[in-house]
C-alpha cells in the first residue's frame, strides 16, 4: 500500500490533537468567565427549583451574570463536585452539607467567605466551618437527627414517647409484630443511613472517635480506649438489642427508612430532618397526624447530630460573581419560599427566622407547630461531627464517615454477629491505618 504506517499514525495523531484542542481551550476559559456562575445544588425539589429559577432570573437582570444550575441530587453531589474539580472546571458555588464541604476546605479549595457572612447577618457558632482561621461556609439551613413515632400505636399500648434507652427498647418490643409490624428500624449496612444512626447514638452515649492531643496539636484515635471503648461497646450492644425489633434492614438506605414507616410496617423510625413527615403526608396522609417527633433516646448526653447546609464558594472560580449571587440570594424576598419548598425539613439556620411570622406562615407549619416547637427546644443542642471530638476542626472525620465505617460496625454486629469489642477494635484499627496513609 502506498500509505506507510508511520505517516498514517502521524496523520491520525494530528487529527486527534485537533479534536482535543477545543476541550482544553474551553477548560482554560471557563474559570475566567466573569459573566457566569455555575451553581451545584443538593436540593432538587421542584418547588426549590422554581425558586432558584426566579431568583436567578432577577440576579441576571440586576448584574448581567448568568447562573447555570446543576442538580445531581443528594446521593451524587459529592461525586459530581469531585469530578468537576478533577476535570479542572470547578463550579463557583456548591450548596450542600458543610461536613462534605470540609473535604474541599482541607484541600484548600474553598474561598474565605467571612465578608459574605458579615453582610448577611453572620452564623451561630455551631454552624460555622472554620479552616485556617477563615469561614468557609455560609450556612442557610440545618437538620437534626431525631426519631418519629406513631403516637396512635404507642398510646394503644399505653406507651409515651421514649426518653431513655430502656423505654425505647421496651416500646419497640411491645409494638413488634413481624412481618406485619416492626417496633423500630435499625439499618445495618455500609450505608449513609446506618452510619448516621450509629454516629448519633454514639453522641447520645458520649462516645468519641478521636481525642484532642494538646501536645501534638492533633487528634488521636481513642475509640478503642478506656471509657470510650466501654461506651462504644455498650452502644453497639444496645443497637443489637433494638435490631431484634427491626426488619433485618441490611440493605437499608434513606428511602427505606421512610417507606417502611409510611407503609405502616414500622411503629417508629428516624431521619435527618422532617422529610419523613413530608413523605408520610404525601404518601399516607391518614397516619400523618399521628406521626410525631421524638429525641432518639439519650444515655449520657442530649447532643444531636447536626447537619448544616450552606453555600460554599470554590477558590479557583469566579469568586466575586459567586459572592454577589449568594448575598443576592440570601436577601431576596423569595428566600422564604425556598425554605417552604420542603416545610419543616429545610430549617432556617437563623432561629430568629424560624420563629418569624413570615416563616411560620405556611399551612403545613401551621398545622404542625408541635414539630416547630420540638425543633426550637433542641436548637442549641446540635453538634456537627467535625466539632464533636473537640473545639478544633477534626480533619479526620472523612476517614470513617465518608466510608460509612459506622455502618460497617452496625452490619458487623447485627448481621454478621461479630462481638462488639472486636468490631470496635477493628474499626479503630482501620481509622489508624487510613490516618497513616493520609499522613
Amino acid at each position: 500500500m502506498a500509505l506507510d504506517r508511520r505517516s498514517f499514525v502521524k496523520g491520525a495523531a494530528v487529527a486527534g490533537a485537533a479534536a482535543m484542542a477545543p476541550q482544553v481551550l474551553v477548560r482554560t476559559a471557563r474559570g475566567q468567565d466573569k459573566g457566569k456562575v455555575v451553581f451545584v445544588s443538593e436540593e432538587s425539589n421542584p418547588k426549590a427549583i422554581a425558586v432558584y429559577d426566579k431568583i436567578n432570573a432577577d440576579f441576571k437582570k440586576e448584574t448581567g451574570i448568568e447562573v447555570v444550575m446543576e442538580y445531581p441530587g443528594f446521593a451524587n453531589i459529592a461525586k459530581r463536585v469531585a469530578t468537576l474539580i478533577a476535570a479542572g472546571t470547578p463550579p463557583e458555588i456548591v450548596w450542600y452539607g458543610a461536613g462534605q464541604a470540609m473535604n474541599l476546605a482541607l484541600e484548600n479549595q474553598l474561598a474565605d467567605v467571612g465578608d459574605v457572612l458579615k453582610a448577611t447577618g453572620g452564623a451561630a457558632e455551631n454552624q460555622r466551618l472554620i479552616y485556617k482561621g477563615a469561614d468557609r461556609s455560609i450556612p442557610t439551613s440545618q437538620q437534626f437527627t431525631y426519631g418519629w413515632y406513631r403516637k396512635d400505636l404507642f398510646q394503644a399500648k399505653g406507651l409515651d414517647a421514649p426518653t431513655s434507652w430502656e423505654d425505647y427498647a421496651k416500646a419497640a418490643k411491645a409494638l413488634n409484630n413481624p412481618p406485619a409490624m416492626y417496633g423500630c428500624i435499625v439499618p445495618s449496612a455500609e450505608t449513609g443511613a446506618s452510619t448516621l444512626l450509629l454516629e448519633t447514638m454514639f453522641m447520645k452515649n458520649n462516645v468519641h472517635w478521636f481525642g484532642w492531643n494538646a501536645t501534638k496539636k492533633d487528634y488521636d484515635v481513642v475509640l478503642d480506649q478506656g471509657e470510650q471503648k466501654k461506651r462504644a461497646i455498650e452502644t453497639l450492644d444496645y443497637l443489637n438489642e433494638l435490631h431484634k425489633y427491626s426488619p433485618e434492614a441490611s440493605t437499608y438506605n434513606w428511602g427505606e427508612l421512610m417507606s417502611t414507616y409510611f407503609t405502616e410496617k414500622a411503629a417508629s423510625s428516624w431521619y435527618v430532618g422532617s422529610r419523613l413527615l413530608d413523605q408520610t403526608i404525601a404518601n399516607n396522609p391518614k397516619i400523618a397526624d399521628a406521626t410525631v417527633p421524638f429525641e432518639l433516646p439519650r444515655k449520657l448526653t442530649d447532643a444531636y447530630y447536626l447537619s448544616v447546609q450552606g453555600f460554599h464558594i470554590l477558590e479557583k472560580s469566579n469568586v466575586d460573581g459567586a459572592k454577589k449571587y449568594v448575598t443576592f440570594f440570601l436577601k431576596h424576598p423569595e428566600l422564604i419560599s425556598w425554605y417552604h419548598a420542603v416545610p419543616l425539613h429545610i430549617i432556617p439556620a437563623s432561629r430568629q427566622m424560624l420563629n418569624s411570622t413570615k416563616y411560620q406562615d405556611h399551612p403545613v407549619i401551621q398545622k404542625r407547630m408541635d414539630v416547630l416547637k420540638f425543633l426550637d427546644s433542641i436548637w442549641t443542642k446540635g453538634v456537627p461531627l467535625y466539632y464533636w471530638d473537640g473545639k478544633e476542626l477534626n480533619p479526620y472525620i472523612g476517614l470513617f464517615h465518608n466510608e460509612n465505617l459506622a455502618g460497617w460496625m452496625l452490619a458487623a454486629r447485627n448481621i454478621k454477629g461479630m462481638k462488639s469489642e472486636q468490631v470496635v477494635d477493628e474499626a479503630a484499627a482501620q481509622v489508624r491505618k487510613k490516618m497513616r496513609r493520609v499522613s
Binding site: F8, A15, N402, I415
Partner: protein, 297 residues
Amino acid sequence: MNPRAERRVWVLGTTGPALVFLVVVAYLPIAYAVALSFFKKTAFNPAMKWTGLDNYRFILEEPELWNAFGRSVVFTVGSVGLQLALGLVAALLLNRAFRGLNLVRSLFVLPYLLPSVVVALVFQWLLSPEYGVINQVLIQTGLVARPINFFGGLGTAMWAVIGMAGWQYGSFATLLILARLQAINPKLYEAAAVSGAGPLRAFWDVTLPALRTTLLVIALLRGIWMFNKFDSIWLVTHGGPLKHTETLPLYAYRLAFEEFDFGLAAAACSVMFVVLLGGAVIYFKLFDPTREIEVGR
C-alpha cells in the same frame, strides 16, 4: 494531486475519524488511567503527586483487593455458567416448531433488551423481604417463618445477584445457541437415529460438539462482560452486605467515589485490566478460537 497522494488522503480521510474516535474514547482513557495509578490524586484537588508504585503496593497488600478479586471470579463463573445453562435449555426448547413460536422467542429475548435498572427494580420488588412476591409465597406456603433478605443476607446476596444476572443475560446465550442449532445439518440427527442413538445420545454426540465453538465464544464474551459488570450489582446491593458482593469494579468505584482516592482507584482498574488481559491470553492459547471457528464451519 498524484494518485499516490490522492490515495493517502482517501485512506486517511475514511479511516482517520474512526481511529481518532477510538483513540479518544478508548486508548487515551486507558493510558490516562494507567498513568494516574502512579500518582497520588484525591478527588478534591486537581494537583497530582508522583508516588511511583506506592498505590500498587498499597492495594496489593490489602486483603480487600484479593477478596474482591475472588468475588469477581465467583460472580463471573456463576453468572456465565447460569447464562450458558439457561441459554442452552431455552434454545433447545425454542428449536422446534410449535404454534406461537415467534411470540415465545420474542419473550425469551426480552430480558436482554431491558435496561439493567429495570431488571434491578423488578428483582428488588420480587425479592424484597417486606413486600416481595417470592417471600409472600414462601411465607404463605409455610416454607419459611420470616422473610428471607435475599439481597441483604450474607449467605444469599451473591446467589441472588448471580441469579438476576443469569436471568437477564441468558437471552444472549439463547440467541447465539439457537442460531447455531438451526445451522446443524438435520442429516446428522437422521444418521444418529439410524445408528440407534436416542435423544440424549444424539444431543451428546451431535448437538454438543456442534455447539462447542459457540459456547466457548459466549463464555469468553460474557466472561469479560460479567467480570467488568458494575451496574447490575451496584443497583441491588451496592456491594453489600459487608462487601459480600463487592467485585473488582465496585471496589475500584468505592476507592474513587467514596474514599475519593483516584490514584488508588486507577491502580485497582489497572490490576483488573491486567487480569482480563491474562485471561484473554490464556483463552486464546488454550482454545484457539480462530481454529475452532474454522472447524465449526
